[in-house]
């Protein structure tokens, strides 16, 4: 690794030894980063490498625990987003941060609108300057247009104009092409070239290798919150970058038991959706853990939600144990024996305010009632049986689920679904955001379920987890199945190549 100079000559912004910890997670572990005027630096890393955290540190949303931020060699602090903006650091967010009911000009200047002598907002100056900024990025949008009347590409331009309205020296683009069409991406590249020509330093965060090689001048790789390397794009190959992203081999122990794979229980053929996924075809066997890997936004959760009846595929068929099934609602999915443990437990899993046992029995009430009346004793028995199997730590099953830790809430949600006695269980990021101990319990239990003949789909963005737990792995990229790996082909390199879209032959 190169020595760590205090600040590179000519760097407009440098980070040195940045550490940021959150309860239970060391999100950034002494990372460094240098951005140079007139150059695009690509920040590359797997899910959870710390890319989003570094953006938040740079824009004053998070304060680093340790380390220095240097602007033109001078140490500075960004206690607020305004302070970062004043120092000329600005981030282009997705269009969701904009206000639909306001005009283009109001959106661009929200929070720092030009004022008149009387302290009121100077609308005329705001419009004139908005038009200037828009012209600067080659757009002739009328600043008086309401945002809701614009298409997504124009909204994106407004977001960019807003970022530039603070006289930016450093522009951060976090996955800027994720929501854009090919034509819009080409326009974005032109814009990046313009910004480069104006001498702005650009931090470009992307998963897509083709665009990194197309647009970036320099690269920096993070892995698990740590700095791995940096350099000029010309001196590096795709293979090198993948190697740096993957790093060491799987070093965690996973309680994967040898699987007795049975007959197919679920066959999905040609699932299509106009915007989320296309031509999804796969088979799931009894006793199997099928891993779904991909980068965030690859469409994995959307496919799972279609299987569970939350949304419907536009095309395609699904067979469960040989019978063609059309699943239009979650109730039908549960009846067909498919259950889904969602990724966002807080929003989609736990019903806070209800006690643990009622959370467990919610989908099984038909079984615990007689003649239309619930039987609390049976509910308790059912809840006790399944929460014990998951080794739930709770004072009482009568306790509000909201008072449990994240890991224990996850166990309750899993217990809830197991109590319906499903044939197929889909676990979406089952260990995301839970403590190590609960993680091991969930993994252990997953193995046990498969051993008992349940078919398990595990959606995971963590390579060690997906490699450690799966019998077979499907990788999705941009809504399509990018590869299927089993046995010795299940390597970190193969997964990342498929996920970012590098052909095998390029290696």
């Amino acid at each position: 690794m190169q020595p760590d100079p205090a600040s590179r000559d000519g760097a407009v912004l440098s980070l040195r030894g940045i550490v940021k910890t959150f309860p239970g997670v060391r999100a950034l572990d002494g990372v460094r980063l240098d951005l140079f005027p007139g150059q695009v630096t690509a920040l590359i890393g797997e899910n959870g490498a710390g890319k989003s955290t570094i953006v938040k540190v740079l824009t004053g949303i998070h304060q680093p625990d340790e380390g220095q931020i240097l602007v033109a060699g001078e140490p500075v602090r960004f206690p607020t987003a305004q302070a970062a903006g004043a120092a000329g650091v600005t981030a282009i967010h997705q269009e969701t941060v904009l206000f639909d009911e306001m005009t283009v000009a109001e959106n661009i200047f929200i929070g720092h609108a030009p004022r008149t002598r009387w302290g009121l907002i100077d609308r005329r100056a705001m419009r004139t300057r908005a038009a200037e900024i828009l012209r600067g990025i080659g757009s002739d949008l009328d600043p008086a247009t309401r945002l809701r009347d614009l298409g997504i590409a124009s909204k994106h331009l407004v977001a960019i104009a807003r970022a530039l309205s603070v006289d930016a020296r450093v522009v951060i683009m976090d996955e800027p092409t994720a929501a854009l069409s090919h034509k819009e991406i080409a326009e974005l590249y032109e814009l990046v070239e313009k910004l480069k020509a104006q001498g702005k330093a650009i931090l470009f965060i992307s998963h897509k290798f083709d665009e990194i090689f197309r647009i970036a001048d320099r690269w920096t790789v993070f892995r698990d919150g740590a700095f791995v390397g940096e350099g000029a794009m010309g001196d590096v190959t795709e293979g090198d970058l993948v190697q740096m992203m993957v790093g060491r081999s799987v070093d965690q122990i996973y309680p994967k038991r040898p699987a007795r794979i049975g007959p197919p229980v679920l066959t999905v053929a040609g699932y299509c959706h106009p915007t989320e996924y296309e031509d999804i075809t796969f088979t799931l066997h009894q006793g199997e853990i099928l891993g779904f890997y991909g980068l965030v936004g690859a469409g994995r959760s959307e496919v799972m939600q279609a299987l569970f009846g939350i949304s419907q595929p536009a095309k395609g068929a699904c067979r469960i144990a040989g019978d063609v099934r059309v699943i239009r609602s979650t109730a039908q999915a549960v009846q067909a024996g498919i259950v889904y443990v969602p990724e966002d437990r807080g929003r989609q899993g736990a019903v806070k305010g209800l006690p643990i046992f009622q959370n467990v029995t919610l989908p099984s009430l038909a079984r615990t009632s007689r003649g239309g009346f619930l039987r609390l004793a049976e509910e308790f028995a059912l809840a006790r049986e399944y929460t014990q199997r998951l080794d739930l730590r709770a004072a009482s099953l009568d306790q509000d689920i909201g008072l449990l830790s994240g890991g224990n809430q996850q166990k309750v949600v899993i217990a809830k679904w197991l109590a319906t006695q499903p044939r197929i269980i889909i676990l979406d990021e089952p260990t995301k955001g839970i403590d190590i101990g609960s993680k091991a319990a969930v993994h252990d239990f997953m193995s046990e379920l498969a051993a008992q003949g349940l078919a398990v789909i595990m959606v995971s963005s963590e390579i060690p987890e997906v490699l450690g737990m799966s019998d077979r792995i499907i990788v999705m990229r941009e809504g399509r199945i990018a590869g299927e790996f089993a046995g010795p082909a299940m390597t970190p390199e193969n997964l990342i190549r498929a996920a970012v879209g590098i052909e095998r032959s390029a290696a």
């Binding site: 959150f22 309860p23 239970g24 997670v25 999100a27 959870g48 989003s52 955290t53 965030v296 569970f308 939350i310 609602s329 979650t330 109730a331 999915a333 549960v334 889904y340 969602p342 966002d344 437990r345 807080g346 929003r347 989609q348 899993g349 736990a350 019903v351 806070k352 305010g353 209800l354 006690p355 009622q358 919610l362 989908p363 009430l365 038909a366 009632s369 239309g372 009346f373 619930l374 609390l376 009568d398 306790q399 509000d400 909201g402 008072l403 994240g406 809430q409 809830k416 995301k432 955001g433």
Partner: protein, 322 residues
């Protein structure tokens, strides 16, 4: 859960203190016969609060209950004028009230219009319908049959039928809330609509059911009201919907949905009923009643706000990982 229980205990304590304070100067107020009268007088409020509770649990609100009550009451009086037998009238008001509730529910479920807007509209429509039926005319005591007026006042085991109906409704709704899948669904839908969907519970259908229940209770109460006061006109129970919502809020039914008990709703209604009946006795202007119930609402909300949702920690953690 213990906090939820303690909320009802606190309200019960407040009611006991209130009664004790009144009794210290007017012992007659707490005589069993008078308490029975207060309970009977509060029965309509209790009946509507039970229905409103179901609606509020599902994150909705029904402002049309008083108009529903008035319309069903008027229809009952008109039917009586035509000589329709009592059992048919009773059946009709319940079904009709449920139907009016179903209109609310269908608009909320099918069109996804916020319930406050839907019921603000139907509230006016239902009132307007009474005017269309009667052209604003009143139906007075002498135009009603004796049988029609007798039912709610008939005394059984020391209490009028109206009070017994309230008791039966309390028991029925309590069983519905704690012992049936539908009751559980009310709590789940209000507590976390997203999770309810992922659990296979239809949010819209559950809200629809809550509106039908509220409507049916309002329809039944419509008959009881008109028969007890022996008068029916366009504006009966005008503004009563706000008393109903107030009873629920005072009773600790979380306005954001998902939390609250039958005991709370009933006690909230009784609290208002006691104040309304006690003020004239104590010699305080009834206008103070509004100020007192307003203060009680604010106090109840402030009390409930102290225990709100420790669950955001998880979201923050998820954000950290992202």
């Amino acid at each position: 859960m213990s906090l939820l229980k303690s909320r009802e205990v606190v309200l019960g304590g407040v009611i006991v203190l209130l009664l004790a304070a009144i009794a210290s100067r007017f012992p007659g107020f707490v005589a069993p016969a008078n308490l029975g009268r207060v309970f009977t007088d509060t029965s309509p409020l209790i009946l509507l609060a039970l229905g409103q509770m179901a609606v509020i649990l599902t994150k909705c609100i029904d402002l049309s209950v008083a108009a529903n009550l008035a319309l069903c009451g008027m229809v009952a009086a008109l039917m009586d004028g035509m000589g329709v037998p009592m059992p048919v009238i009773l059946g009709t008001v319940v079904v009709m009230g449920a139907g009016l509730g179903a209109i609310n529910g269908a608009l909320v479920w099918g069109l996804g219009i916020p319930s406050i807007v839907v019921t603000l509209g139907t509230m006016t429509i239902y009132r307007g319908t009474i005017f269309l039926l009667t052209e604003g005319a009143w139906i007075n005591a002498h135009q009603m049959s004796d049988a029609f007026k007798a039912v709610p006042r008939q005394v059984i085991l020391g209490l009028p039928v109206m009070a017994w109906i309230a008791v039966a409704a309390i028991a029925g709704v309590a069983v519905l809330m704690t012992r049936t899948a539908l009751g559980r669904a009310f709590y789940a839908v209000g507590g976390n609509p997203h999770a309810a969907v992922y659990t296979g519970i239809s949010v819209g259908r559950t809200q629809f059911a809550a509106f039908v229940l509220a409507g049916a209770l309002a329809g039944l109460t419509g008959y009881l009201w008109v028969a007890r006061y022996a008068v029916a006109y366009v504006d009966i129970a005008g503004g009563f919907e706000l008393d109903v919502v107030a009873a629920c809020v005072i009773g600790g039914i979380a306005i954001a949905g998902g939390a609250g008990t039958v005991a709370g709703a009933v006690m909230g209604a009784l609290f208002l009923g006691i104040i309304k009946n006690a003020l004239p006795v104590v010699g305080i202007s009834p206008f103070w009643q509004m100020a007192i119930s307003g203060a009680a609402i604010l106090a109840a909300i402030a009390f409930n706000a102290r225990r709100r949702d420790p669950g955001r920690i998880i979201l923050k953690r998820a954000e950290v990982r992202a």
